[in-house]
Symmetry: C2
Subunit: 384 residues, 2 copies
């Protein structure tokens, strides 16, 4: 049987029964979580896989959304793959796929701080009746995971068979295994790191600067003003997008081909090269679907993330699969190698697979066919 | 005798006697060129080396400026090296240095389109009496070289013993050798390319977008309005700066060290990491000394630059020295290797030196000690 689709899905919403304490010392009194589930929860509730999205994702990880959003979260090189409304990791989640919904109950939530249904800076502050904006607390990956923990409690799910994610999603998987070592069997950490390298810190700072220097950001309180920092967030997205791709993949896709196909037009304001036009398109489609304050908060959180590797290795009990991609210069394979070495030094089970693939960091969304057998085998070994 | 300084210098100005025809088909009626010279012109006028600056440089290449500018052009990692007012390539130009002023008459001009004395978008349009702003013509590396040619004609200099430069400056050296093959003996092309790679096209496009999306840019006509696109140009500079450095050099210099030295402060708007603070500082010092429209025009010109290698190799008669740096991912050594191969295929003399150095593209400004013997030997061989 060939792998199939989970079919048509609809995002659901759950309000946490209690407040959420944050690493900063602040507290969110009311938290709503947007989520989707695929597959069937076993009677023993022991087949749950939590899938965690990256900076620009949402809860809609698989299948076709019943309410098709205007702008897909599958953009960049992945935009062409799949019909409108398809989930961002549809190639990995479904019957017979890497995260096999014939066996597992896969849960996907929009992150704390998000803008696609889970409480974030664009949500209404119950204390004021107005959007949080600049008053939304600065959050951490730990806070995201604590939110997921409270959400799963509300669903009556105690243990996770696995936590999986790429990039910021992989940080969440690592944090789960360190923060709740007795509640996670396996983690699948893809194109991720225990601590963003300084150049990555710099890129994220530049993206945030581009947003915050846009006068339409208004210190974060732009909701309801009729103005949004689309110009700055477009620049932030362009920066991010180029860091997600490798130089050879940009060369292969666009080369130095001119937009006109013919002569130079001698213009500053219009794109001359196809790659320039592509970046503008990426920026304009991203700002339609994403909130700038969410971008700031998630970017800050992933920059903050830093595991003390010896301490983490001592704490962790989950089996660990690390997948890295040879051309990923934003989250280079060296980081996964460091994690693997730390785990091994503490006798903790770890499998590192470096996949030779050309698309840079975006490989975790594009190289589904090559990740699938690695993930399937890793999960199967855990059951044996 | 140890290498010395050219001493105190002052930028001079020359108005070209005629108009300048541009590659776009447009024409500049009046062109002023800012320049400095170091050393003594030989009676035979056969010892002239033209030094060409990169995107953010100016005519002040060596010595100490008599009129100390508020902000040095030596910024980034090079800011700490040398006293206030020192030229951007002082380590390479002077008595006993790579470009030895005991032997050579070194000429350095501010580029056409510049903002440090040579005619550019901030200059007064003689046709209107107002700054060009949005009406300044889009220029090319060929136009910059044609301007230098007209300037040297006015100085009574026909032949060049060498043309030398790094990055955009190296493009000018290549263009000189192709456009005026009988007038150039040697070219020294450092950390440069015959055609910017697509990822570099993307970075430059993002930097320009950051400027043009700043509402204070005002379509390019911001002069005299009391508002300048400093916010956008700051972002442009940050993008550029990170592309000029290697990831390991950022890691070595800053690591993930916090600005506070202690705990996280949980802030979006303030720098948490030292590398974030460094980037802000780079941005704020750059906008004080540089004009945004000049940035746009020079960035566009270096993006346009593209030599047809077989045709260039057929045309060129100059001896060529190519220097590339192992860690330069913006202008990678592969480009210099392509040029060298094309020259060899046409039997043209070429020497390629790849220097193993950690600072990325900025090596051409930082690794002066290691470039010096290579350049000196190359120039000496040409005289023998």
């Amino acid at each position: 049987m060939s792998p199939g689709s989970v079919g048509t899905v609809e995002t659901q919403y759950l309000d946490l029964p209690g407040s959420l304490s944050l690493d900063s010392g602040r507290r969110l009194e009311q938290v709503r979580v947007a989520y989707e589930t695929y597959g069937t929860l076993s009677p023993a509730r022991d087949n749950v896989i939590l899938v965690c999205h990256a900076l620009s994702g949402d809860a809609h990880a698989a299948g076709i959304s019943r309410v098709t959003p205007a702008e897909s979260t599958r953009d960049g090189f992945a935009a062409a793959a799949g019909p409108k409304g398809i989930g961002w990791w549809d190639g990995m989640i479904g019957p017979g796929k890497a995260f096999d919904t014939d066996r597992y109950f896969v849960v996907s939530t929009n992150l704390l701080g998000g803008c696609r249904g889970t409480t974030g800076p664009s949500s209404t502050d119950p204390g004021t009746g107005r959007p949080y904006g600049s008053t939304f607390p600065v959050i951490t990956v730990g806070d995201m995971v604590a939110c997921q923990r409270a959400f799963l409690d509300a669903l009556g799910i105690e243990r996770l068979a696995a936590v999986a994610g790429g990039s910021l999603g992989g940080m969440q998987a690592l944090e789960w295994a360190v923060r709740y070592p007795d509640q996670v069997d396996d983690i699948v950490v893809i194109a991720s790191t225990h601590a963003l390298q300084p150049q990555g810190v710099a890129w994220n700072a530049i993206a945030r600067e581009a947003i915050m220097r846009d006068p339409d950001w208004q210190g974060g309180d732009y909701y309801g003003t009729g103005r949004r920092p689309d110009a700055g967030m477009g620049v932030a997205r362009m920066v991010g997008h180029v860091t997600y791709l490798s130089a050879p993949s940009l060369a292969g896709r666009f080369g130095r081909r001119l937009q006109s196909g013919g002569d130079l037009r001698y213009t500053l304001s219009e794109p001359e090269y196809q790659v320039e036009s592509y970046l503008r398109h990426q920026a304009s489609s991203f700002v339609k679907r994403f909130d700038a304050n969410t971008y700031l908060h998630l970017s800050r959180a992933l920059t903050y993330f830093e595991l003390d590797l010896p301490a983490a290795a001592a704490a962790i009990r989950a089996r660990t699969l690390l997948i890295a991609f040879s051309s990923d210069w934003l989250y280079p394979p060296a980081a996964s190698e460091e994690i693997a070495l730390a785990w091994k030094n503490h006798g903790k089970p770890v499998d590192l697979q470096v996949i030779d693939a050309p698309y840079g960091h975006d490989c975790f969304l594009l190289e589904e066919a090559r990740q699938t057998p690695v993930v399937r085998q890793f999960l199967a070994e855990g059951r044996s």
